[in-house]
Symmetry: C2
């Protein structure tokens, strides 16, 4: 069985979990805190990052969430998530990169730093300037989602794709950390609440990270 090395608030691990669940592939969760740089983990992934998807029986080790998702897509027939013409697939991958890289750099990354890492290691309070910037940039990203779902049923086109999974993964972590203000983002909120009620999403919403609790609306599918 697949073993996924991850921690609850890693957005890239969440994307892989959503992908595995949507495809109906069984996996075990293995807790890994990459910041501890555990030797056996560094040996598995020299980059020292989560997620890593490992199958001990077949001696397969997959690293990097996009490489993992492409692998899963190539090795399963069910529920295709990188679909359509070459251009449509490029649009899906553009949006995945936008959320993995820009949303993470602007919003999820700074929130994780300020609210999780500083708390766990440095026992320091978060810096309010950094939090304000992250929340301001989060608005811009939510506006872009509003715009996309004004034009298309799902982020990349007529059907659910890996782009929706990548976006929902980042957003769910930012929302857990209290970094999103949904006011004025009705379209984005409607798209996200459809996601929140998918069976693949429920386990993520039920999980809690020690030391940090999410806001009340976080796991509420009607919020």
């Amino acid at each position: 069985m697949w073993q996924l090395y991850q921690f609850p608030l890693c957005p890239f691990s969440r994307k892989v979990r959503l992908m595995l669940s949507e495809k109906g592939i069984a996996y075990e969760l293995w807790r890994e805190n990459p910041w501890e740089m555990r030797e056996a983990f560094m040996h598995m992934n020299p980059a020292g990052r989560t997620p890593v998807l490992h199958d001990p029986e077949r001696a397969i080790t997959l690293i990097d969430s996009r490489a993992i998702c492409e692998y899963i897509e190539e090795t399963t027939d069910r529920v295709p998530l990188i679909i359509g013409t070459a251009s449509a697939r490029a649009e899906i991958r553009r949006l995945v990169a936008l959320f993995d890289e820009n949303f993470f750099a602007d919003v999820t990354g700074p929130l994780l730093n300020e609210k999780m890492k500083k708390r766990i290691f440095l026992k320091q309070p978060p810096e309010s300037r950094v939090l304000r910037d992250a929340m301001r940039l989060a608005h811009e990203h939510l506006y872009y989602i509003d715009y996309l779902v004004d034009h298309r049923p799902w982020l990349a086109g007529p059907t659910m794709s890996m782009a929706d999974l990548a976006a929902a993964a980042q957003i769910s972590v930012a929302d857990y950390l209290g970094g999103l203000d949904w006011n004025g983002h009705d379209q984005a909120r409607a798209w996200y609440s459809v996601f929140k009620s998918r069976p693949s999403f429920r386990p993520l919403l039920a999980e809690r990270m020690e030391v940090i609790q999410p806001p009340i609306h976080y796991a509420d599918v009607n919020a």
Copy 2:
């Protein structure tokens, strides 16, 4: 014909240029300085980043170097660069991510910031502590390349792949900016010098960026 929006020292654009050349696909270079946030460019790519690959006749706009490379791979039969079993393809994509993300964050990004951006905008000298850190981390990445080519003819396996292109693209920019010390990296140097003499690579090595000149060994295929 394809138009590639790029600037000479953008490593992600270099990866796409290598890919197009290796596949024998014609393209035009369009100079774009993303830091100028030109309105028409921001309209084309809301993320405001190079590279963008655009075909005006077919109205195709491709964004994000990995999405672009996957598109090129999917739409051409010649010179496959994401090859082999699903696991082999995952290994290629892991290494692409390692160079695009970790090498860029550790080495190319800081060098571009200190040596190019500070010079062009802020008219400030580079910070020597940042340059030292980048050069120290560059050694670690070169050791990893030494290790890989000790075990395999090319970075990801028996044949040249997108991993080699991604690595060579980052390395060529770091080398241009004087950030690499090749001493003690004979294996990496041998792998890279084979690359430097490929026809796809020659145009990159011949190009110069205004205001910054590369070290003497940079374009020397025997160095």
